[in-house]
């Protein structure tokens, strides 16, 4: 069976999740590879969530938030803009290609942009291939690697 990337998307409630919704109601076609988890703010995405996603079988993680200056909580996404590049360095240190972690700003009106970044990321991860970690073999929570998920 051909490799289909599994990507976890953490989408902020106020902009990006609404943007994804707009892409849906506008019937914009996009890759179905991103499993969306709604968070109240991109600043709510703890780095451990992202490491855990990789441990549990994600091939890539994309975090989406409001554009800078548009955060519902004033400056939550300014924490994100420092946290994700920092975490990329850590992830690279662990031997994971940093392109597997991506940060994008998608507003509530940018359904087309949501589709574009999802398609881009999906193709990038497809080219990188499946993520293989030794922790996968030891993990007790490998349900996401089950056949046909």
């Amino acid at each position: 069976m051909a490799f289909e990337p599994k990507i976890i998307g953490f989408l902020c409630n106020w902009c990006s999740y609404t943007g994804a919704d707009l892409a849906g109601v506008s019937r914009i076609k996009s890759a179905p590879n991103v499993r969306v988890i709604r968070t109240m703010c991109s600043g709510r995405v703890d780095p451990s969530f992202i490491l855990k996603a990789f441990k549990l079988g994600a091939d890539g993680v994309i975090v989406m938030g409001c554009h800078l200056g548009d955060c519902h909580y004033q400056e939550g996404n300014y924490k994100t803009i420092r946290r994700i590049p920092f975490l990329k360095r850590l992830v690279e240190g662990f031997g994971i290609d940093p392109r597997r972690l991506r940060l994008e700003w998608v507003s509530a009106s940018e359904g087309d942009r949501f589709a574009k970044v999802v398609n881009e990321m999906t193709e990038e991860i497809r080219a990188l291939g499946p993520l293989k970690l030794s922790v996968h073999q030891e993990s007790e929570h490998m349900a996401v690697h089950a056949e046909g998920y």
Binding site: P85, L90, E138
Partner: protein, 321 residues
């Protein structure tokens, strides 16, 4: 009535935990009076066969220090698990891999290659001698334990009742835990971290903190740090915000940043991820280039943030192609 039986063991460790037990000073006499010490390789001449001959669950309390790094460590961990009613992961290495866990930054092959071939101090290994698990001699076959590629914490190979963090655990914390057990008082639920606090190291630190806005990180030797102000406020990477309390903030009192030996705070799974989160919140920059410039100043984030907890972190080890 027979005294309860106590065992102490060291796996992949430095011996500091053993010293910490003796550092409870005269209280060690109370321990010796209250317990029958049935196994303690560093201090008493018992053999593995003596333990093998014991009945299952006949040891009341086993304090196990050191990480699991080779086949001998695991064999003894499993044996002591069978023989003990209560098994305690004692110290950072047994709790979360500790310093030996930093071997998970590399591989067994790279380590052996460096030590036996590439290290500048290796000058006479022309024959290319490497350690072998089995060696045949005229008198028979010799066997030594097999080194593993990945270092593990104790609870990654056997079930553990309690964890006592610290490198080493502080003597007064050890005395308090042993005192509690000797008093027969109600014990915390299995799986608890004991002999430590429920907050972060910062909570015990006497230094004055203000709102953190960091534009520049420094290595400790690059500046004269103010002895009264928070080290992190001064741009020195200090693990305090991502480390459990319980040590009394000894390091920062001696002008040394916290190294994180008490492990992650309660309800935190990954100390390094928590440190990324903490530092990202206090870096004073909004532009990607400026943020990159500041992040460049943090030396060896992986080795610094996971100095004691790499083997027990979410990803556990570095992937090598």
């Amino acid at each position: 009535m027979a005294k309860p039986k106590l065992a102490l063991y060291w796996a992949a460790s430095c011996g500091g935990c053993e010293i910490a037990v003796l550092d409870i000073h005269e209280k060690i006499l109370d321990v010796a009076a209250a317990f029958d010490i049935v196994f303690w390789p560093v201090a008493l001449d018992f053999k593995y066969d003596d333990v093998r001959a014991m009945e299952d669950k006949s040891i009341d309390l086993c304090l196990f220090n050191g990480a699991i790094r080779n086949s001998e460590n695991e064999e003894i961990a499993q044996m002591l698990r069978r023989k003990s009613k209560t098994l305690v992961a004692f110290g950072s290495c047994a709790f979360e891999g500790g310093i030996p866990g930093l071997a998970n930054l590399t591989t067994k092959d790279e380590i052996l290659n460096f030590v036996y071939k590439e290290s500048p101090s290796t000058v006479s290994n022309n024959g290319g001698t490497f350690p072998q698990v089995h060696t045949t001699t005229a008198d028979g076959c010799l066997e030594i334990p097999e080194l593993w590629n990945t270092v593990k914490a104790l609870d990654q190979v056997v079930d553990v009742e309690y964890y006592i963090p610290g490198c080493p655990p502080q003597p007064e914390q050890i005395a308090a835990v042993i005192g509690l057990i000797m008093s027969g008082g109600p014990l915390p639920p299995a799986g608890s971290v004991v002999g430590a606090g429920e907050k972060t190291c910062c909570d015990e630190c006497a230094r004055a903190r203000k709102e953190k806005r960091i534009k520049q990180f420094h290595r400790p030797w690059e500046i004269f740090a103010d002895p009264k102000e928070c080290l992190l406020d001064q741009g020195i990477v200090c693990m305090g915000p991502a480390t459990r309390s319980g040590c009394g903030a000894l390091c920062t009192a001696a002008n040394v940043p916290c190294r994180g030996c008490y492990g992650p705070p309660p309800n935190v799974e990954d100390q390094g991820a928590k440190m990324v989160s903490a530092l990202a919140s206090v870096i004073d920059a909004h532009e990607p280039e400026e943020i990159d410039r500041i992040l460049d100043q943090i030396a060896d984030p992986l080795g610094t943030f996971y100095r004691f907890s790499l083997a027990h972190s979410i990803l556990r080890r570095v992937e090598k192609p």
